[in-house]
Symmetry: C2
Subunit: 338 residues, 2 copies
């Protein structure tokens, strides 16, 4: 094992362990675009169960298995579960990052537990007060990153500056965007709009050297106007859940409407639309600001989402996203160089 390895939580998510293992196999499949070498993937879960499942799926192509006998359920209270289950896949997968056995950890499990374990065990990068969850969607033909999606519900203006830098680096390093446009999620364009937090964060971002557009609005997530949208974790989480609810509502209504109109529905008919609003397309959210690459996927992730999350983790490690974040924070004036 080494710092280029990626830990994978085999016990997390609604369809664990089967879908998680299928995702890992997909990631190393030679027919996949940029497959990863199997020895970069470390599976955290019950060793015997993993081996037997892999045998049923055609054998272990070379994954490393790290025994973690306990699972933290999706509905368990994070702090309590982490205290009670020291040998959970989340605890041991995070610990492996701390001790340098791996460089990244991917989990489709209990979000609160992953955020808690990472914050406590890995600590934050220099210049980061609180980590933020970054979700990148590909709705408008290019990636749009929104952060924070729920790690920090009461940020300070400096946190939003740090999120701006982290989102900028994420877009450059992992999405290949040259000069990402950064916007502050607000309810009007003028600098004086919105909450006190936003009024104080605006000048910090303006003076940061980032390609700061100023304020943007909710609808801009659906336009090619901005690459990184900054918000507090409360608003971000409301937005995320609203988008999920609205997407499935509209798809359902649409299918009903087409049926009513007698339009024959080919299952693949709505594939393009479904894919564009589908969370498996982006794989997982990055927990930015902790000292390690941590990716939290949706509990309902399918094998494609697991593969995309593993590939995002590899990209984060290979581009040294965290080193770049630390330099970026210095340049933006968020931390004083030593």
């Amino acid at each position: 094992m080494s710092k280029t390895c990626i830990g994978l939580d085999v016990l997390g998510g609604d369809h664990a362990p089967q879908t998680i293992l299928e995702g890992a196999l997909l990631t190393v499949d030679p027919s996949t675009e940029s497959p990863l070498p199997p020895e970069r993937i470390v599976l955290f879960g019950d060793e015997a169960a993993i081996e037997s499942s892999l045998n049923n799926l055609g054998g272990n192509p070379g994954f490393i298995i790290s025994h973690a006998p306990e699972a933290i359920g999706m509905e368990e209270k994070p702090a309590q579960a982490l205290r009670a289950k020291r040998k959970s896949s989340i605890s041991l997968g995070t610990k492996a990052v701390r001790v340098g056995e791996t460089g990244a950890f991917v989990s489709m499990g209990n979000t609160g537990a992953v955020v808690g374990a990472s914050t406590l065990m890995l600590g934050t990068l220099p210049g980061v007060r609180r980590p933020g969850i970054a979700v990148t969607q590909h709705l408008v033909g290019r990636p749009v990153t929104v952060l924070d999606m729920g790690a920090n519900t009461a940020p300070k203006p400096e946190d939003l500056l740090a999120y701006g830098v982290m989102g900028d680096i994420l877009q450059r390093d992992c999405m290949g965007v040259d000069s990402p446009r950064v916007g502050l999620l607000n309810i009007g364009e003028e600098e004086s709009k919105g909450t006190e937090l936003l009024q104080l964060a605006y000048p910090l971002l303006k003076g940061s050297g980032l390609n700061f557009l100023g304020n943007v609005e909710g609808g801009d997530i659906f336009r090619d106007h901005v690459d990184v949208i900054l918000t507090d974790g409360f608003t971000g989480n409301v937005v995320l859940k609203l988008m999920e609810g609205m997407a499935s509502f509209m798809m359902k209504r649409l299918v009903d409407e087409l049926k009513k109109q007698g339009v024959p529905i080919d299952p693949a008919l709505l594939g393009g639309l479904a894919r564009s609003i589908d969370s498996s397309e982006y794989g997982g959210a990055l927990l930015l600001g902790v000292d390690g690459v941590v990716i939290i996927g949706h509990g309902s992730s399918d094998s494609r989402a697991v593969k995309n999350a593993l590939q995002l983790a590899a990209k984060g490690l290979d581009t040294h996203v965290n080193q770049d974040i630390v330099s970026g924070l210095q340049t933006a004036g968020a931390i004083t160089p030593e």
Copy 2:
């Protein structure tokens, strides 16, 4: 003129005055469901222009015309515009409510100017510290009201209690819902979740006698789970603009997708879906908590939206929604009875 009359801003909105007048005519058309008598509608705008437009549309069926020579543009700064244009349709339409010439005012114009004029000239109802904007949508086969949608970006816990009472009364009086379920927009179910504001508002709502469900999430707007969703005006406005952006994004993507798949698109094909997410269906938002019935419509409103807004205003007047709000606030403990 009397307190049962409804003022209509003929100069407000993207398609004024034509669409506004068409909406007024639709409202009194005998073939409309529950048509209003024309003498209940007072048109605020340039008298000569209104008369000439009505002549082109077949004559004035009996509307009262109140001369207001100045228009406040959609992009003008509200406070400044209200000071400079004392004879604007928004100023005079609001003033008519204050002096009892009308009981209600409907405008598709500059939202900030309508909120500003109403708050300053009408004042708030006893027990209301700050008005809130209530938007009611009919997405799930029944009306769901969300407030505040942007009048008050930094509410206190007591404001959320008042919004709960106002939303409850709105649903009972204007939507015919018997025991509306009230929820607090949050990012998790537990009472301890979310911002300090929400943590403080929760027990107030729990002890209010309202049918309080506790916390709800963004996705619940699209489920038959809650009738009134309470939020601060910042989050509410982000949500409103996100929903608008997402709806038009998805409709556009859908049409593109169907075209690509070679599915013949009947213009009426998506009518049902478009209508269900269309703001003209709900007509306008109520500015609740001011001493008068004030409705703010979308600038892009069509004649149907204008009609729905006028009918909502009539409903508010006929059911004495504001009297019921004042009693409701007393019952909920938001104000001490004299």
